[in-house]
Assembly symmetry: C2
Homo-oligomer: 194 residues x 2
């Protein structure tokens, strides 16, 4: 159960057996059915979540009731309403399962304890935060400077497996373009490829 998360952590820091055991003792295991909510908007995000298996989606709902996908998270990814988690105030994001999903979660207070007991996790989460910041900026820059077609092509190149698993209208919502635009791009790609 802990193999994937320990491998994920080992990308950035080395843990001995004792530290690994302490870390995994703080994790809570949870399974979600397809469409089940992991976090609801206006609730405080108590956990940072690691996806062991399956696929999650974080999204906001605007005043008109429209959903806007903030991010997807599949196996080996971390996900949370980071603002709510860090400030421990009610958040704006919902997180639900697009497939049957298995996660490991660490509570805010346990993470703070982990930083004290195994300070190398400061390094690990510093690097995760850096990567989150970079991804966030890249997304903002892309939405300002790229056409819908360029954004869609970059998405399927960067996340080929997501494009297979996520319904097209949700990819459109993530990119802030219409599903019709994606259909048009796909048709023109099919024509070029034929």
């Amino acid at each position: 159960m802990f193999e994937l998360i320990l491998k994920n952590v080992s990308k950035h820091i080395k843990l001995d057996d004792h530290e690994s055991a302490y870390f995994t003792s703080l994790l809570k295991h949870k399974t979600l059915k397809k469409r089940q909510l992991l976090l609801r908007a206006n609730e405080v995000a108590r956990y940072e979540t690691f996806v062991v298996k399956g696929l999650l989606r974080a999204y906001t709902v605007d005043k008109s009731g429209y959903e806007h996908v903030v991010m997807f998270a599949m196996e080996d990814w971390w996900v949370s309403d980071l603002y709510s988690f860090l400030t421990q105030t009610p958040g704006s994001q919902n997180i639900d399962a697009l497939e049957e999903t298995e996660v490991l979660q660490i509570e805010k207070q346990d993470l703070e304890r982990l930083y004290i007991e195994v300070p190398r996790f400061d390094r690990f989460f510093r690097i995760l935060l850096q990567n989150a910041f970079i991804a966030n900026q890249q997304r903002i820059i892309a939405s300002i400077s790229q056409t819908a077609e360029e954004q869609y092509l970059a998405f399927i190149k960067k996340y080929p497996s997501l494009e297979q698993r996520v319904p097209q209208h949700q990819v459109a919502s993530y990119l802030g373009i219409t599903p019709e635009t994606i259909s048009r791009i796909r048709r023109s790609m099919a024509t070029v490829g034929s």
Copy 2:
């Protein structure tokens, strides 16, 4: 010269004399005249910068030549084009001095060395990154959900000394509102106060 930066670091981590000496040995001191550029858009941000004295402004210039203020940074603040600094790719921000300014800077490679030699700096910069992330989110949320007046009042409440030191049109640019709107708000505040 290092008193303020060591006090800033000590808010989050404790250093012994040897570690403090190592840290300060990596810092480069620089003074800027009013209006002098510290960083130019399309250059790589080589440094993370700490303001010892004075006031800096980070801004982008759009295709029509209009300036958009990204942030201000006065004494005891850290500033950088973080995306450019973290990825070591050309950035989009200019940073210049609004007053005669004195800074301490640490180069990317020296910071990486510092993380290795004094791992508690992982903690320090994890916390700085968290705070940057939170501030960023709060600003986005405010720009979506607050009126121009609410944003301006929140700004002068949060940063009373900045409001005294920064020209009104630059505050307007930071908040994404017109200078005329600020004038109108200030007139109505003066009327209420009279």
